[in-house]
Symmetry: D2
Subunit: 260 residues, 4 copies
């Protein structure tokens, strides 16, 4: 019962105009599921770990926060973004409701502590190199810093080279940490480094992965959505387009009911 | 729509009495789902690749076939068993409806051809070391031998040592082979070699894995069921007990409807 | 000190003429290393688990044994070949000195027992899905059958899809089993299924892998050698050509001395 | 020919006294290998990504740099340390000769650029989740920032949970990037998270791994050394003790000669 977290938005703040447009698209589509999903708008101001130095990174922190604040106010929606170095935690927390720790950085103690100190909810993505039972450690670091509001997001585990696998059984293991488990629908179908200078992905598989996670029983969903993913400035191959997003929501609701 | 395959039975034919008892238990529980599941009784006459030479293997082929035939007749149920060397295909096919190729043996050409030659349905378990896109090869070997009735069963993929992971995205990839995809609910939570002389397992996770597979959309389920798995002569840690089995069936039906 | 085992020959008996030619080539090149290597000629009479059913398998058991016997006599060299079903153990053991168990089959109890019963040396390839500490189990099966002469050959471990990795640290772990550890120089650089209907490979890396194994300290080497690997009927991409083979032998000797 | 890089020192600056003692111990042992190894002293001022928040992190940047500078001057040795956020690059580069990028952070563009901008040598540890062919990307980021002096250090790849494997074949692949390849002798035998709150390790295997890397042909070695590793404040299970370190050096020299 109750509404689940639905973290949705474009991978990157590509422009103020585009971010606003995406917020509008998503807002229109989630409205009718208000009993099922609590929507949180997501977008990154800086893609700080792109495979290559040649690819776009985003508008930067100051401009990004201005745009996120505008969306927060105009759409009356909580917002989430990711931080990369500890100095960013404080200014970002003045705007966003959920601070996200990228998967590669999930063991960086200073970053976790800086995020924890803001008092905001902290969403830690599970490192591609971290065992499910070990995800208790970053959560403890946050709690021991006095912040009880930590979440874990599953986004796939290293499986050979240029491939990820989702260990659904690991979702069960992670429940023991007592933190909400969010399922990242779109990064889990990424093919890291699989296209040379950028990562590949399998957008068409993402909805299946989300439905499976709903059947497994997770506490919320994360998904990147773009109105024209083939032209997206980052993560194009795995972002959902709007028709896939729209079709997915009622399926997730139905599957959740089927296992309740 | 339509009934899905439900391959269910104890891992090993522990005795004639026990196999009959298990068939009765399962029969009683699947009866009410006749519109949803076509039950096939499963049990092995020989555990031919046990981790250790010290552990029980089963009654052998002749005695095992006699028991399977009795169950087939008394319960009016199709039966499935696995074969290990090519000479077994012909005598086994005189009794069983589906010949199963064990995962370790899924690339043994002679075994596949001998199974194909019987004209029976051949269920090939996906090797723990085989990529989803490569599972077309054993299916082709069977088809080129004139037998169109090949199925693929997912039972998990090697992930480091003493662990398996199910690549649900691989279920999508395997659809391209044009063969039914069966989900092995109980071997996929095995921990191979994880208990020294025998393999460990995580029975409590198995129902979640099956529900996730139902949401993903598979063509049938395989599951080992035991009335007292802690005393089972093989695969105890991952076989479903009867309450778990009973609770799982309506959930699988509901999830399937949710994604249809 | 002492000579190490050097198992070398073509992957497949392509023809009587070719097998004889390869034996001659290898014989000429190993002669000067008689103090360092005890050469065993290796060739398969049946590639019983080829990826695809369309590719050549070899001359079969009877014809293959005739050719192996001729090589054994004419070159005064022990011979090794692999078996695939238990009925082959007895006739094969009448000719060959070392029976080899393929990696996929390393847990097939009947095959191990049939090989053990011949009294010949049994070389068990480590399954791509088996942990180093678990390789004690097949060795025990052979010993408990009364045959003390079991060896383990490392040939790489599943690492994601279509790739293998050699866990050199696992060589250390496997020493505890008290059996000689042989390093398979050429299968460890295989890319299983990586070329569609056949497996790919990286021949140019194989000598480096062998030198690393020599430095680690193994008890012998296995390597497939072909006078024209690009035209080989199987495993072309990873077999050594004759120049690579010839250059490798003195390096292995030198490295072994460096760590003694 | 020529001297190879030998990066050696304790994992953490445990105290000024201990760091000085270790520098003295190592200095005495490397002296006689001046033709073979160019020693660089290594120690971390901050273990910034420890598994648990409860474990010691080190003296911090200011105090750490003071101690490294003292060692640099008193022992006339180049020094290396690792940085974790971009603001550290400039002050650290005023003291150290080689800036090291931790493996988890090898894709953090700002950190790589800040390190590159100092003009110092930048040693990038290969992420546990990065394919060998993809390690060209961080090296390019550094070079495109105008710094040609980038190195790659292999320290193992994620292999299942709580385990690493070294893909020696990947060393061959990484040569194409045109940067020196350093082999991390002691982290590659780490068992990440394997002891609950801290990582485990297999110190006794480390020398074998280094000798194998020498035979493979690398450009230098990295190894953590401690006079009492069982009492070390971090990475105790995998640091070399002084006898292992002392025995290893002549072996590495001999193996290198054997393959030259």
């Amino acid at each position: 019962g109750g509404a689940q977290l639905l973290i949705a938005g474009p991978c990157m703040i590509e422009s103020e105009q585009h971010a606003m447009t995406m917020a509008k698209h998503i807002s229109q589509r989630v409205k009718q599921y208000a009993d099922n999903f609590l929507w949180v708008f997501k977008a990154s101001f800086d893609k700080a770990n792109r495979s290559s130095g040649d690819t776009p990174r985003g508008p930067g922190m100051d401009e990004g926060l201005r745009i996120l604040e505008r969306i927060k106010n105009e759409f009356n929606v909580p917002v989430l973004t990711d931080i990369h170095e500890s100095y960013q935690a404080k200014p970002v927390a003045e705007v966003v409701d959920i601070l996200q720790i990228p998967a590669f950085l999930c063991r960086q103690t200073d970053l976790l502590l800086a995020a924890a100190a803001t008092g905001r909810v902290v969403n830690v993505k599970k490192g591609q190199f971290v065992a499910p039972h070990d995800m208790g450690r970053p959560i403890e670091k946050i709690r021991e810093a006095g912040n009880p509001a930590a979440m874990i997001t599953e986004r796939g585990t290293s499986f050979g080279y240029n491939n990820l696998v989702v260990d659904y059984a690991g979702l069960y293991v992670m429940r023991q940490h007592g933190a909400p488990i969010i399922f990242d629908t779109t990064h889990c179908v990424q093919l890291p480094g699989g296209m040379g200078k950028v990562s590949g992905g399998r957008r068409e598989v993402a909805p299946y992965m989300a439905k499976a996670a709903a059947a497994f029983g997770v506490d919320g969903f994360f998904m990147e959505v773009h109105d024209n993913p083939d032209q997206a400035l980052s993560d194009g191959p795995n972002q959902l387009n709007l028709p896939l997003f729209e079709e997915l929501l009622p399926r997730l609701v139905a599957v959740r009911e089927a296992v309740s």
